[in-house]
């Protein structure tokens, strides 16, 4: 039994690959291998809509399309991670924060000075 998160990702993959908006029945048919009930597809779609990843048009039956491409979502995330907000707000712990080129050069120098040939304790 696939998890909801897994289904959401699969549905998004179909929507991202599609040429235009897709109806729920179309999604069910595209995922025929998974043997999903139409209500399950609707559940997943409404969850995705609530999270703001999917929108529907006014056609009958309603057709769904992604609000942004996969690359745009990845870019949005990285923008926040690399930006000041992520660093300062303890939302996430970043391995190394932003550094200016001069500081990066000093760090490399520090590493070179201790040299791999003179092993530290």
């Amino acid at each position: 039994m696939a998890s909801l998160g897994d289904l959401e990702r699969t549905v998004m993959d179909v929507l991202w690959a599609a040429d235009g908006p897709v109806a729920a029945t179309g999604l069910r048919d595209a995922l025929a291998g998974r043997d999903l009930a139409l209500t399950t597809v609707h559940t997943v779609l409404s969850r995705l809509e609530a999270k703001g990843f999917v929108e529907h048009d006014d056609a009958r039956p309603r057709r769904f399309r992604p609000r942004a491409s996969r690359a745009e979502h990845a870019a949005e995330l990285m923008h926040e991670v690399l930006g000041r907000a992520g660093d300062r707000q303890a939302v996430l712990a970043r391995f190394v924060g932003g550094v200016d080129p001069e500081e990066a050069r000093l760090l490399r120098q520090l590493l070179a000075e201790s040299g791999p040939d003179t092993p530290t304790r």
Binding site: Q89, L92, G98, L111, P119
Partner: protein, 309 residues
């Protein structure tokens, strides 16, 4: 007359608002034992808030009794004030209420706000990235900048960028992952949260910003230490230092002036990896652990003990 309890608490609050954080922020021993230093900072923050609110409260309640317990009992039983209630009593009582509400309110607000942002990040990640079978809590994000981070929470996620994986060898990558796992295992985001909130609540207090910066650095050093303990290989210290330098130099870089402030802290981190300072002697460590306990005990005792007069 100002009760001695209120005066003692006010002196303690003044010490904790300026000289103590300044000394602790400038001290060199914290990098020898980041965990003990983190405990000291938590105590400074907690005792500081407790003593300033306590001082205001004890002074404001003075007409009802010269200790918090005495005044509280008098108020509960509906006894009239023994001394006349002046304007300054109402002012300090109001200040105490405003300060307590602000500190707790900002803390709750930061909690809710970061939780919401984290949930959003997690949703984005789970949608965009396929989990690998090998590490179900790790995600590989397609991006050229060498970036690694973790999203704390009930279902923590560890994220590596493809740029990070490309620039590091296997041992360096293992060091980065061990560092991030250390953050998650010790819930470092919880150590940071109060200082983040105090800084937002008290922007006029330089000690709040200083404390936040110090705790942020110490948390990174602590994660380095814990990562080292779990790493194999010939020279894990150097491996981790190399990973830091690569991640810093690989153009992860927002060359943003505001961010570069953290840079010298990175230097300290690399330096203590390459040339580890001697651990604190047992006696010094014990003293450093007793101090925060005492620091919390003093305002608590002052507040709860019956009048010192």
């Amino acid at each position: 007359m100002l009760p001695t309890t209120a005066a003692a608490l006010a002196v303690l609050a003044a010490l904790l608002a300026w000289p103590v954080p300044a000394l602790l922020g400038r001290a060199r021993w914290p990098r020898r034992d980041p965990l003990v230093a983190l405990i000291c900072w938590q105590a400074v923050g907690l005792a500081g808030g407790l003593s300033i609110i306590g001082a205001l409260l004890v002074h404001g309640l003075a007409p009802w009794g010269h200790s918090l317990s005495g005044a509280g009992r008098a108020l509960l039983t509906g006894d009239p004030a023994r001394d006349p209630v002046r304007g300054d009593h109402w002012v300090t009582l109001t200040l105490a209420a405003v300060l307590a509400a602000e500190l707790l309110g900002v803390l709750a607000l930061s909690w809710v706000r970061t939780a919401r942002t984290r949930r959003r990040h997690r949703e984005l990640l789970e949608l965009v990235v396929q989990p690998s079978a090998a590490a179900p809590d790790a995600r590989l994000l397609e991006h050229p900048a060498p970036v690694a981070f973790c999203i704390p929470g009930a279902r923590p996620l560890l994220v590596l960028s493809s740029g990070m994986v490309a620039e590091l060898d296997d041992r360096q990558l293992a060091a980065v992952v061990a560092h991030e796992r250390a953050h998650l295992a010790e819930h470092h985001h919880l150590y940071l949260l109060p200082f983040l909130a105090w800084e937002a609540a008290l922007p006029v207090l330089p000690a709040a910003a200083r404390a936040h910066t110090a705790v942020r650095e110490l948390v990174e050093m602590r994660a380095d230490d814990r990562a080292l303990a779990s790493l194999g290989g010939p020279d894990p210290r150097r491996t981790l230092a190399e990973a830091i330098v690569v991640a810093a130099g690989g153009g992860g870089g927002v060359a943003d002036g505001a961010l570069a402030v953290g840079g010298s802290a990175l230097g300290a981190r690399v330096r203590r990896l390459l040339d580890p300072p001697a651990p604190l002697p047992a006696a010094a460590r014990l003293a450093a652990l007793l101090a925060p306990g005492l620091l919390l005990l003093v305002p608590t005792a002052l507040l709860l003990a019956p009048s010192l007069l």
